[in-house]
């Protein structure tokens, strides 16, 4: 009985991982059928989530909200799974405008999708919201990183094989010069930095980053200061699998906030059909544990099953 209560508590806690264990819950309904006393005892025992008020054990509001979120994880992932990828991306980008998602989601989408996928997302955005994503980003986001963000979301990069190696070397040098002479706060608004990062093809940028490392003895990320937007941009363009593996890891961390937790669903859904194998390998190498093991340990119920299926366990 104690064991059952423990697992039921875990299933209902909205703590200790993502999602709820629907199977255990359904089994308990059967087991405690016509036994209101059992339920009452369970509630009394479940301190922190229920408080005694008069003769009833009332739900804590905070707990209710958390529980709702955890119940919704499966619903959300199913809806997203069914949606067209372009609509998904458009809706995620729209969430950023209205501040419910961090701006890094726009960096992620603008930099890791192919030109065609990004264009599709932009068309979906227009159909859904009657605005272009560029106009909304330019209008709603007024931060130091706005220019970079507008540039990234506007991009329609060349995707062919041609790379001008001399130009890549030259731009690596130019970036080095800018980094040396700019204060790290100014770097994010520097025209050359923005131009190079938002207009050059991804192949060209990878070559540029490679030359930068050879020229300066360290990867460019180390010289970008605490500039989150710049860091994420470079990472998404140069090593997307690493970016995604890190985003997943942050979601699993103790005390991760709501947007970070949402990354788990977003990354796995959006990459399941693209580069999940590479992300799994990178995750294993980086964090010393298999992604499927992390998921099995930290998520519950149908949500867990769906994640495991999507990552191709």
């Amino acid at each position: 009985m104690a064991d059952e209560t423990l697992s039921l508590k875990k299933a209902f806690s909205g703590h200790g991982g993502f999602g709820v264990d629907e199977t255990i819950m359904a089994a308990m309904v059967t087991k405690w059928r016509k036994q209101p006393d059992q339920k009452s005892r369970f509630r009394s025992d479940f301190s922190g989530f229920f408080t005694k008020i008069g003769s009833i054990e009332k739900c804590e509001d905070d707990y209710l909200l958390r529980l709702k979120t955890e119940f919704s994880r499966f619903k959300n992932i199913m809806v997203l799974w069914l949606m067209h990828p372009w609509e998904r991306d458009a809706r995620w980008m729209h969430h950023v405008m209205h501040k419910s998602y961090p701006f890094t989601v726009i960096v992620e989408i603008a930099c890791t999708r192919t030109s065609e996928e990004l264009l599709g997302a932009k068309r979906a955005y227009q159909a859904l919201f009657n605005h272009s994503v560029e106009e909304d980003v330019a209008y709603h986001i007024k931060e130091s990183y706005s220019k970079l963000l507008v540039g990234l979301v506007s991009s329609f990069r060349y995707e062919g094989p041609q790379v001008d190696n001399d130009m890549a070397k030259w731009e690596a040098k130019a970036l080095g010069n800018v980094i040396k002479s700019s204060g790290s706060g100014k770097l994010i608004q520097n025209e050359e930095v923005i131009r190079i990062l938002t207009t050059r093809s991804k192949r060209h940028l990878k070559a540029t980053f490679k030359h930068y490392k050879e020229l300066h003895g360290k990867p460019i990320e180390e010289d970008l200061g605490a500039n989150l937007c710049l860091q994420e941009t470079v990472k998404c363009i140069d090593k997307p699998a690493k970016y995604f593996s890190e985003a997943i890891n942050i979601a699993f961390k103790e005390g991760a906030d709501k947007p970070s937790k949402l990354s788990l669903t977003r990354v796995i859904i959006s990459r399941a059909d693209v580069d999940m194998e590479e992300i799994k390998e990178t995750y294993h190498k980086q964090f010393g544990v298999k992604l499927e093991d992390m998921i099995t340990k930290n998520t519950h119920g149908h949500y867990k099953d769906t994640l495991l299926t999507l990552i191709g366990k």
Partner: protein, 313 residues
């Protein structure tokens, strides 16, 4: 409407290719015969002629034309032969690679096309030049021009008809604030001009006029000609009243002293199969002579004949 006139019935591509071949043979070139064919075929027909000529005579039509004729006539025919999308990609590239970026050309292409037309131009540009138009514009233009041109070229604008009146009022005020301070290169002016839909932009300019009794282009007139402000006004006109814009460009070319054949060629060639009829009609009311008369006054020879053939009668 187009001014291009096509005979009915139109000869087959093979017949046309033969006529051109005949025009090239022997001493000199029969320019009249060339014009009789090329200036009276639409884009699809011209494409078929190119194919038929190459199949029959095992040489590229364009190469042959380049060796047969020269000067302004040759440049006009060269630009005319391509279909509108490829033509604009080629002209954009020429404008970008110019010693100083030929900004009116970029502004025209970026502003008069619908979002999807501009997208097609950009796609063809990529396949021709192995770079994106955005990256070339950004790397060749500098300072304020780079900001403006990149924003105009790079935004995939929403083309819908909806208008938000409150927003139009707010943005009219934002524009006024910037203009009053003389901050013509303000990020807000560029943002509004380059990201808002045509309908929304027109509404904003109407609000501006209502509030200040002055059209925004008049408000942007400065006593000393400032290239950037000229560019801003061109962009505003191209985005809202393109027919008037091109009529004025033609009137400036044809009624002032000196002569800019490249600009004249550009306007005629780019609009003959689009909306030259409306531009012509407006020209006549404003200039007190027909476009044909004005062109005949300022040009001569084969170049004149070619332009007149495109302008139609």
């Amino acid at each position: 409407m187009a001014t291009l006139s096509i005979p009915n019935p139109v000869p087959s591509a093979i017949e046309d290719a033969e006529k051109l071949r005949k025009a090239f043979q022997g001493w000199g070139t029969d320019e009249k015969a060339m014009i009789a064919v090329l200036a009276h075929r639409d884009a699809a027909q011209r494409k078929q002629i190119k194919i038929a000529y190459e199949e029959q005579y095992k040489e590229k039509l364009l190469k042959r034309i380049e060796s047969e004729i020269s000067g302004h006539f040759e440049r006009a025919v060269y630009r005319w032969i391509f279909d509108p999308v490829e033509r604009q990609a080629i002209m954009a590239n020429i404008a970008i690679k110019n010693k100083v970026v030929d900004f009116p050309v970029i502004i025209e292409i970026a502003c008069i096309n619908s979002s999807n037309e501009l997208l097609s131009v950009k796609q063809v540009y990529q396949s021709l030049y192995k770079h994106s138009m955005e990256e070339d514009v950004a790397s060749h233009a500098t300072g304020d021009f780079r900001k403006l041109l990149f924003a105009l070229v790079g935004t995939y604008r929403y083309d819908g008809e909806e208008i938000n009146t409150e927003l139009a009022k707010t943005e009219a005020k934002i524009l006024n604030d910037a203009i009053t301070k003389g901050e013509y290169n303000s990020d807000e002016i560029i943002r509004i001009l380059s990201t808002r839909s045509k309908a929304q932009l027109q509404a904003t300019f109407n609000c501006y006029k209502d509030a200040h009794n002055l059209s925004i282009t008049k408000a942007l007139s400065t006593k000393t000609p400032n290239d950037f402000v000229i560019a801003l006004r061109a962009a505003i006109r191209c985005r809202t009243t393109p027919t008037k814009y091109f009529e004025k460009v033609l009137r400036n070319i044809l009624q002032k002293s000196g002569m800019d054949e490249d600009a004249l060629t550009r306007v005629i060639v780019m609009h003959a199969e689009k909306d030259l009829k409306e531009i012509k009609e407006l020209f006549q009311t404003r200039a007190n002579m027909t476009l044909e008369q004005a062109v005949a006054k300022k040009t001569s020879g084969d170049y004149e004949n070619f332009l007149l053939a495109l302008i139609g009668n």
